[in-house]
Each structure stands twice: as C-alpha cells, then as structure tokens.
Point group: C2
Chain length 625, copies 2
Amino acid sequence: MTSLLLSRRDLDFLLHDWLDAGALTARERFAAHDRETFDAVLDLAQEIAERHFAPHNRSADEHEPRFDGERVHLVPEVAAALEVFAASGLMSAAMDHDLGGQQLPVLVANACMAWFHAANVGTAAYPFLTMANANLLAVYGTPDQRERFVRPLAAGRFFGTMCLSEPQAGSSLADVRTRAEPQPDGRYRLFGTKMWISGGDHELGENIVHLVLARTPGAPAGVKGLSLFAVPKYLVGADGSLGARNDVVLAGLNHKMGYRGTVNTVLNFGEGRHLPDGEPGAVGELVGGLHRGLACMFHMMNEARTGVGLGATALGCTGYLHALEYARSRPQGRPLTGRDAAAPQVPIIEHPDVRRMLLAQKAYVEGALALSLYCSRLIDEQRTAPEPADRAAAGRLLEVLTPIAKSWPAQWCLAANDLAIQVHGGYGYTRDYPVEQFYRDNRLNAIHEGTHGIQALDLLGRKAVQDGGAGLRALLAAFAATTARARELGGGAADFPADPTGDFPADLATDFPANLAAEAGGFADALDAAAVRIGRTTAALWAAGDPEVALPNASVYLEAVGHVVLAWIWLEQYLALGAADTPFHQGKRQAARYFFRVELPRTGPQFDLLDGLDRTAAETDPDWF
Amino acid sequence: MTSLLLSRRDLDFLLHDWLDAGALTARERFAAHDRETFDAVLDLAQEIAERHFAPHNRSADEHEPRFDGERVHLVPEVAAALEVFAASGLMSAAMDHDLGGQQLPVLVANACMAWFHAANVGTAAYPFLTMANANLLAVYGTPDQRERFVRPLAAGRFFGTMCLSEPQAGSSLADVRTRAEPQPDGRYRLFGTKMWISGGDHELGENIVHLVLARTPGAPAGVKGLSLFAVPKYLVGADGSLGARNDVVLAGLNHKMGYRGTVNTVLNFGEGRHLPDGEPGAVGELVGGLHRGLACMFHMMNEARTGVGLGATALGCTGYLHALEYARSRPQGRPLTGRDAAAPQVPIIEHPDVRRMLLAQKAYVEGALALSLYCSRLIDEQRTAPEPADRAAAGRLLEVLTPIAKSWPAQWCLAANDLAIQVHGGYGYTRDYPVEQFYRDNRLNAIHEGTHGIQALDLLGRKAVQDGGAGLRALLAAFAATTARARELGGGAADFPADPTGDFPADLATDFPANLAAEAGGFADALDAAAVRIGRTTAALWAAGDPEVALPNASVYLEAVGHVVLAWIWLEQYLALGAADTPFHQGKRQAARYFFRVELPRTGPQFDLLDGLDRTAAETDPDWF
C-alpha cells in the first residue's frame, strides 16, 4: 500500500528529476553521500514516521499535555517516538560531522522532516524546535557552548526552545521586556515572562535549552537592544554534567485548537525558585554578542520559516492523500448523465466536483512541497556552492522567497485540508477521520513564526526593495530563466538568460514532444505577463516612497506574488517531467494546467487593486466598524 | 456595553430602514403586530440568548454529549436554556395562532433566531430542528397530527429531528434503504439505520418526533419512491397522551470537530426492542401521502437552507464583533511610519492590515445577514403578499437565491471567522478565546443540509434553467431594478423597471447627496456588467444542453454568482443608508465600497474559466492523482 503521509514518488521526482540532489555529492561537505544514502535516509524517515509518529497523532490530540503543578505529562508514545528518532541520527541529519551530525544536504534533511510533520505535527515539533535551536547555537555559540549544548542537542539528549514572545509582545519584538542582568562570572540572570513557548517544559530527554531574547541594562530601546541567551532548565557544568535546576518556572499551559500534542507554555524567568544560592534570576549565557539577539535570530529565520511552510505543506499532503483514498473507495451517487437509481453507486472520485477538489489539493500541496524543497536547495546553495557569487545569488533568492515559502503553504495547504474535509462530507467533520485534525493543526501556521501580515510586510516592505530591489530582480530573473527554457523547447528562444540558481534544475529532456512544448510556451507567456505585473505593481506601490501608501495592502501583494511564484514552480516541474507519460507524469501535468488555468488568473484583480493604491480599509475610521 | 453577539443597530437598519418590516403589519396575518412588538420580541431574544445560551457555549463544547448505553447526558445548562426559550414562546414565533404560535413574520422570527445561533449554535440547533419539523408537520400533517405532534412541538414540550441520511446515502437520497411496512391499523413499521441525526436522542422535553424518509414495499426506485413518516420516540395516543417507548434505538454518537453541543446520532429503527407487543419495527405515521416524501422535504428546503445560512452568518457576526473588540483593546506595535520604540504601543485596530481584516469580515457578515433576512422577507412575501402574482414572483426569486443563501455564508462567514482568529494572533488560536470555536462550529455549514457541491448543482443544474430560466431572469430583473434606482438618484435613469420584490425595500431618501449618488451609479454599472456576465456564462454553459458540459464547474458558478448577489445586496444596503452620515452609516458605506472594489472583481477570472468550458478537472483520469 502506498503511504497516506506523503507521495514518495513525488519526493523522488522533486529531489532527483528536478532538484538534482545527486549533484550535491560532488561537493566536499556532502562527499560521504550518494543517491543511495539519500534514499536510505528517506526510507528510514518514512519508516519511523509511519511506525512511531503516525499511530499516536490522534491520541496526543485527544490527551493534551497536562500540568500537575510539578511536572508536564505527555502521552507516553511521544517520548518513545522521540527516542527512536534520536537514535536514528535524524536529529542532526544536516549538522556537521564534528558535532555528531550526518552532514546531509538541507534538501534531504527537510525531505525527511516532511515525513514527521505529515505523520504527527505535534510530536514532530519537539525535534523541529530542537534542531532550530541547535543550528543557531552551532553558528553563534562559543566552542564551549557547542560542546556543552549543541552536542547533546544534536544527540537528542537535550531539547530546545525559542523564547521570543511575551504576553505584551507577540509580533512586536521591540517591546520585549525580559531583563538580563550581568553577573560577576560573566553569566547573566534573567527576569521576565515568555509566552507561547512550544516545548517549554516536559520530561523528555535530560534537559531543555531555552534560547531567550532579553534586554540588558542600558541597552537601546527597541529591537536593537535585544540580546540572546542560552538558559538551560538544568545548569550545565564545564564538563557537560547537569547541575541545579535553573530559575525557570512553568507558569501555565496554553490550550489550542490544534497542535495539541505540543506542550505550549508560559514561562517565568527569575521567580526566585529552585537555585541553590537562593538568589532570583534564571542563569543564562550570552550567545552571539551583546545586542546581537535579533541578528542571530534573523540568521536562522529563513530556515525556520521555510520549515514552518514545510510543516504546513506536509499537513496538506497527508490530507490530500487521505481524501484521495476516501474518494476512490466511497460509493455515493451516480454520473451526471445516467441517473438510473437502480444502477450501482459509483466511487465519488467519478464526480467532476470531487475531482476538482482533489486536483486543487494536488496543485496546492505538490506546488507547496516543490517550493519548500526548492528553498531547502537554496539553503544548500547559499552554504556550499563552490563560487561565492553563486552563494550570494542563492541567498538573495532565498531571502525574497522565504516569506512566500512560509505563508503560501500556510494559506493554501490549509485550503487543501478544508477541501479534504469536504471530499469526506459529514465523515470528514468527525473525529473518526483524521482530516479535521489536519485542518485544526494547520490553522496555526499562518500565525506562528511571523503572522501572515508580518510576512507581507517582510516581503513588500523589506525584501522587495532592499539593496535597490536586488531580491525582486533575482526572483524575476529566475522566472525569466525558466520561461526561456520553456520557450526553447519549442525552438523559440534566441536569448537564454543565465540561470541564477546555478547547477540545478537538472538538464531538460531533449525529446520534449511538440504539443507539450507548445503548452509549456503558453505557460511561459502567462508567467512572463504575471512577472511584468509584479514589477509594475511594486514600482507603483513604492512610487511615492511612502510606507503608508505602499503597505496597507501588503497582504494582497504577498498573496498575488505568492501565486505567481507557485505558477513558476509549476512550470519548473512541468519542464522537469520531460516526455514521460506515466499516470504520475500525466497527473503532475494536469495539476500544472489547473494552476495556470484556475489559480494564476486569480492574481489579475489583486494586481489591479494594488495598482490603484486602494485605501478602502486604510481609510476606514476605527469608529465606523 | 454593546453586544458581542450581533449588532442590534445593524439588525434594526436591515429590518426597518431597508426591508420595511412594518409594512407587513398591514397584512391580516400580522395584524396583531406593530413595530413595538417586533422590537420587543427582538429584545427578548437578545436577552435570553445572552443570559441563557451564550454562557454555556464553551462548556457544551468541552463537555460533549455522552451516552451511557441507556441515556444521553448533556450539560445541564442546555435543558435550562431551552426551558426559558420554550416559555418565551419563541419556539412558535412564526407559527399560526391556532397552534399556539405568535404569527410573527418569518423575517422577524429569523432575526430572533440569529441571536441564538450567535450565542450558542450547538444549543440553538435543538429548537432550530424542532421548528423545521413542526413547520413541515403543520403543512403536511393531518388535523390529528397537528394536534398530537405540532402543538406540543410548538410549545417546546416535544423536540423534533429530520432523518434523511443513512450510512450509505448522504447526498444521494435515491439510495435511502429504510423500509416502512404498512400495518392493518393504517400505521407503518420502520426498519433501517439513519445517520447524522442531530438531536436524535436526549432527555430534553417529553418526546422526540423523528421525521423519517423511508421506502414502502413496491415503491419506485430512487427518490420518487420515498415517503415521509412521523416516528415518535414515545408513542402518542389519540388524546395526545404518551404511550410505550417506540422501537427507535440510539446506536451511537458521532463526535465532531465543532457543533459539539448538539448531540449527533446514529439511530436504528426496528431492532425489535422496547415495544410491548414484542414485534419489531418502529411505529410511524405517514405524512403528506405515499411517495410524497421528498416533495414534502423540498417544500421546507428553502427555509431550512436559509436557516443554515443564517446560522453560518450569526457565527460570522459574533466572530467579527469579538475581533473588533480585541482589535480596539489590544496594544501591539506602532504605526508604519513613526516606529519609535520608546513611544507607546497602539491598539492593533490602528494597523492597516488589521483594519483590512476587520473590514473584510464586516463586508462578509453584514452582507450575509442582509441576504439571509432578505430571503426571510421573501418567504413572508411568498406566503402573505396580497397579490398571487407577487407571491409567485417572490417564490421564484427565493428558489434561485436559496442555494446562495445557504452556501455563501457557509463559505464567507467561515472566512470571516478565519480572519477573526488572525486578528487575535496566537490568542485566537487558543481555547481561552471563543473565535476558534466559531471557526470549528462554522465549518459544518458547508456540509449539512446539502453540501456546497449539491447547492452548486441545485443552482446551475436546476434553478438557473428550470421553467425556461425564469428563476435566473427574476434574479437579473431584481438586480436591474436596484441599479435603476441607484442611477435614478443621479437623475440618470429614464426607464425604471418594475421591482419584482413588491412593496420593499422601503422608499429611498430623496436627499441623496450628489457624491453618494455618483458612487451608487458606479456600483450600479459594475453590478450591471456582472449581471451581463451571469447571463452570458449561463447560456454558454448550457449551449450544448449537456449536463456533462455544463456542470463540472458548477461550484465555481455558485461562487461567482454568489459574489454578484452579494454585490447587489450591498448596493441595496447602500441605497437604504440614504444621506445619513453617522459612524454606523459611514461604516456600512465603507463595507459596500470594500465589496465592490475588492470582492466583486474576484468573479472576473471565475466567469472567464466558466466561459471557456474548462474541463481540466473533469478530464483528469482517476489514476493520475
């Protein structure tokens, strides 16, 4: 039986036929790997996800983490699953050999993580956060911190959190109030309350390393005064041994609509409890230099946000596969013509409206998966491309794509989960089927790690304009490279612009049939036209150089540009399909057609609205609501 | 404090300034009423909803109905609330005096029900279903059945259900298998399993009257062979006294994502339990004649579906009001210009993106409320307009509007609830705030009482074409009457077509300022253009006369036509606002602008797709997924 979590066939296509993962093994960092080790680790991820994560997805949702005043209790399957996960080495899949890692490409490591998000996003959050934490400390930590923190994190002995938000400061990090007081020994004592901390307390592993944004005495106001601190639940001695319980206190749990398997906490730092010296303040170590807190966080932001998008995508994928299985097996109704009540009912996949809902899901989730993996590949390029110029180019493209790679799956893979419920009808609305949980779980992804609105400001207010618009130009150049390749298939293109993405995608098949070449040319025309609109609209929005003019409809801009990016991703996939005509290839092509025919045209009215500098909402007086 | 359930100000505007509810009191049926009694019953509904329904909305969600093998247990507040509700007379608000009813217009009765849906949709479902049941029996029951069933239903002593679906027959009623065997005494014995029965078993009231679709021996196959039966939980004697427990057995409860306060059941009829004669089969009485089951159901369908749309709307309204309150009180961040971190944070309503999300919600929920009440008014017209031609005209318009009045709020007021969560940020995703429940509850409304896809087939496959397209022509004529009125304000219109909706809306203010008249004219132009597209697209879809050509994108058609209908409804409201410029009036106008500028243009690509007879999904081979 094929998996109901992800399509391995599609993953293989994306990794190998399109993103040419094998080419990475020519680089020194990945020299220990080849296609076989990539395939083996994907097999391993799938097996652990299916055997140890998926079976308790519902149970962990139904039996939320519970705090008895002393400890947090999770369903026991969480710890069991994470032990298997840690033992597999997946916690450090992409990390350096010298920290115990496997030094896999981020591309492959993220493809592995997708299995866990699809199987059980609540349990997968623990390693997901731990890896993000470890990666940050691996870059910014001292050699000593790498030994004492990163190594046990990478081994799965410690878990990690990210402590940014506070009750009064969610999206507005400038308002973080947690204080860090320097101590004579070079360490700090922290005081404050952190909110929405996933994995903030539990009995998994031996320790929890909190990475905490806080403000030192006399620091500048706003985000420029923030520093980052490693604050372990149990102090870690110079030799790595565990010491006293730190002054970090679980103040309470948040109870959510979804993601219920992930304990979500309010943490108080510096209540004056636990530490043997009786002095209040949680002991923390500075990471990455004074007032460099936000810079450190931002360094990891592209990966974290791509990861959130990947999680949203994985939920979309598994919802789609469940809906597909249901549609193939559930008899109900008869064809639009031939409504003879005496004839047997047909499987609902025979109904055009059900097929429409399945094809839309396929276009959303496979498009999102391709985008997520493309961004993962860019992270590898940014780190390991042989030429500095290629690294810089990949970084530029990654910067501009990141808000889309985060927000687009959060929006459209949630829409896919909505359709998955609809395909199931009444059954899909019950807790006897998993799709309602996917929908509840996925709703978080437009909120955490920067809301939809924050991503929109990031794209239009920063990424589209910084460095004189270099990011946006890189994006449009990537589009142009793809459309030129598409046109070349039909013998049309004279000028083939340099591909800004280096040595991938893989070379195109040379035997592209004429009808497919013509279709690709049509898609290229549509994408080129949309790209022109992006350029024109961006210029119109910023013509006055005034954020109050440019940004009120930033969310509409994010959504419109996101849809164009996905059209590009679908054209890329279409080209990578070559001439093959298996059902898999036919289905991918059909999803590409769906995207160009049904989805891309949605952007027309959005660009129109933006071009008109619409101020309807901005000019609505608060008293008028 | 203003209510967080509904805006009474908006209700008053819709009922009186727009729909001229007072004019109905000139009709004999409503002669006992006047504006004061209308206002008083709305006050009463609001008070009971706020005091007795809203307080246990969360508790009923958290403590689902439980079946101990013998009885169903609900949180006790449900019974207490329903006792107050029944004592208030609201159960029979629109019913005939001779059945104990108050003979209020459906318009006013539905406005009352909106308070209960907004306060607690799970508890409101019990009276909602009971009223639908009683209304059907009042029309199709014998005088004896009216006495024995309808009178106690109307008094709130009995509760009612609708038993249509079966495990193998949800949308496909042709496949209903429940059998009804005639007995020598003229009654029937029923055998079968019914699924998704809301309110199917509980200890509220004295009895439950199930209205059951079943098939008699030798009946034709398909829906034409269905008959309707009243099957009480306890038999009802000739004098109305309660007798033996009937052979209706609760087989189990369904556990849903939302609507968790409403017990949802699987019922077995005819297990051979309970009845003293030991014979199996649930005793039922035929209602409305042999093989007339679906016709009876369909007679009530417009009301039931409008009611579902109203429930979706009410959830959207309360979500919007909660988001608005949160946005006004939650400080976070600073203006786009002036990001001085030392300055105090501003309430988030100051952020353009938050205002955008609030205005979108306002446009959706107030548009949906207006549409729901307009349809309610049409039900009154259909029943009580003095001229038979007006009654027929109202009926035609109601028929074509019903699938939209059901589906549009289910889709867009859910979208409003999604935005309400987003305005709350992380808090909105927790169960400490009510908006996540509204979102879960509202997700049902695109499924029950005919899925979105079923409504789409009803609109494009039936309502748009039956009687030679009379329904669609009525809709386009209603648009034209509105746009002519809009243009007349600017002195433009020479030809003023007859208004097909009789004596409402209320007469327009004569002092419409020139700038507003010009704006109304612009909206009228846009609506006229959209109406042309509806006509052209419908003709294109049916040009071949082939359902397989016309119907594959019926859902897109439903959504596009729905958006045009809402633009019309917003223009209607805009006109009814007259020249007043209070904040309330300004806000309504702004929502109308939002709808015309942001929402109506979405339909362009949808009509384009339909005009091209797109077959992308229809031609996707099931093996390609």
